[in-house]
Symmetry: C2
Subunit: 253 residues, 2 copies
Amino acid sequence: MSGQSAYSLATRQYPCGKCPLRPLPVFREFESQELLFVSGFKKGELAVDKGATVLVEGSHSAHLYTILSGWAFRYKLLRDGRRQILNYSMPGDLIGLQGSLMGEMQHSVEALSPMLLCVFERDQLHELYRNYPGLAYDITWMASREERMLDENLLSIGRRSALERTAYLVAFISSRARGAGLNGKRPVQIPITQQHIADTLGLSLVHTNKTIRKLMDRKLIIWRDGGCEVISHEGLTELAGWQGLGEERRPLI
Amino acid sequence: MSGQSAYSLATRQYPCGKCPLRPLPVFREFESQELLFVSGFKKGELAVDKGATVLVEGSHSAHLYTILSGWAFRYKLLRDGRRQILNYSMPGDLIGLQGSLMGEMQHSVEALSPMLLCVFERDQLHELYRNYPGLAYDITWMASREERMLDENLLSIGRRSALERTAYLVAFISSRARGAGLNGKRPVQIPITQQHIADTLGLSLVHTNKTIRKLMDRKLIIWRDGGCEVISHEGLTELAGWQGLGEERRPLI
DNA sequence: CGCGGTTTTGAGAATCCTCAAAACCAGTGG
DNA sequence: CCACTGGTTTTGAGGATTCTCAAAACCGCG
């Protein structure tokens, strides 16, 4: 919950034609027409520091973003400061679509790591809808995907025990990270603190810590270097009673 | 959690030109072009009984629906039967969009009351996107609206106490009902059981009952005729620390 | 009247919370 | 190189919330 500082808007370093994400097998092919439009749609790149607030609840942002690299999370606050993390975002995900469509942001977004963002202009969304129905469809598709993830999170918070919830969350995040091409030969390091997990799962920090310990005792995860790694994905999904996300190929705007 | 039976597909009774919903002030104006397309998009009407399952998790529906009248809820189940209600749907809301876009339904939908649904064909969505960018935008807008509601629900379940949660939920549903034009001179009767509330808020039935009693003791709501009515909207929002939903006009497909 | 679904009540138990303090750890400045 | 600092993780302990089990009351409907 720290600094709001340290942004830097660069002119483009990765032209869309040389996008480091698009070649990944998880993303669907684009027609050259579409690629061309997206190239024009992209206004530049924004680098933000870890801990920086990318978007603030209550504001009206003129931009939306696609994550080129790095992690973030969306959250809402209650008046007295209680925080609920709604979801995490990683490379290939859109940020700020809700605000762009509906006007005012009703959640905030904070960077979990240094990030690189592609910047788009909200005002050009209409043109996209007018001339690129395929991309318009993709955007709706991505909104639906987010909705699905929220459905899952709701199920989890509402009906799973603390242990099941935690297992689910770690499995979920690491699945998505793999889907975003974030795993090298080492398993993915999820760059979050136990406070983040607590605020995602609706648990207290203390109880979260004790729950994580149980998962570590069962050798399902390990916690090191200030982050979390999955040891047994199957163990986690089994414990959580989660079938995993059937991630097909998805669009990348 | 009862019967799957009793549907009836009627040919159209309400041509879109005489839609009983569209005149309501909450819905935005449509151009005659758009109205014409929607007219053709609509394949008929479906009447479902209270308790009927409209859409089932795991299925691939060829249709999506707009609610003409009646109430429904979306939910997911855990393997052992624990149920989480994700959101409620009322007149003007789309049902089954997620499934239409992404293929398989990942949640079920059940009618809370007798319902009348406008039936659309999934396959025609592409045509809509190709030729009616305004409508396409509207659909994305509605998906975003659903996302917002889920964000709120998540905040509620994750970070509010049982009393706050219950106050929030009742205020939220009755706000939306008012927004859907469901209030006559009498305040809206929300046609749900305490089990529904429990399954929405992630609480047990017993504790939900005791919590509702507290709200009744405070004269914020009353429970009668097998449903819930709001007595003091301000009291509820104040208790929940909720600012209410700034509902602007919205599209109606 | 009897039935199924819903609401209500009581009571003991489990989960999860708060408070408090210590341990740990990486980075900073002396 | 070491002490200090702030953030994070860990531990202990008592307490509040919420849960489960069980049974009764209630209520509309056939």
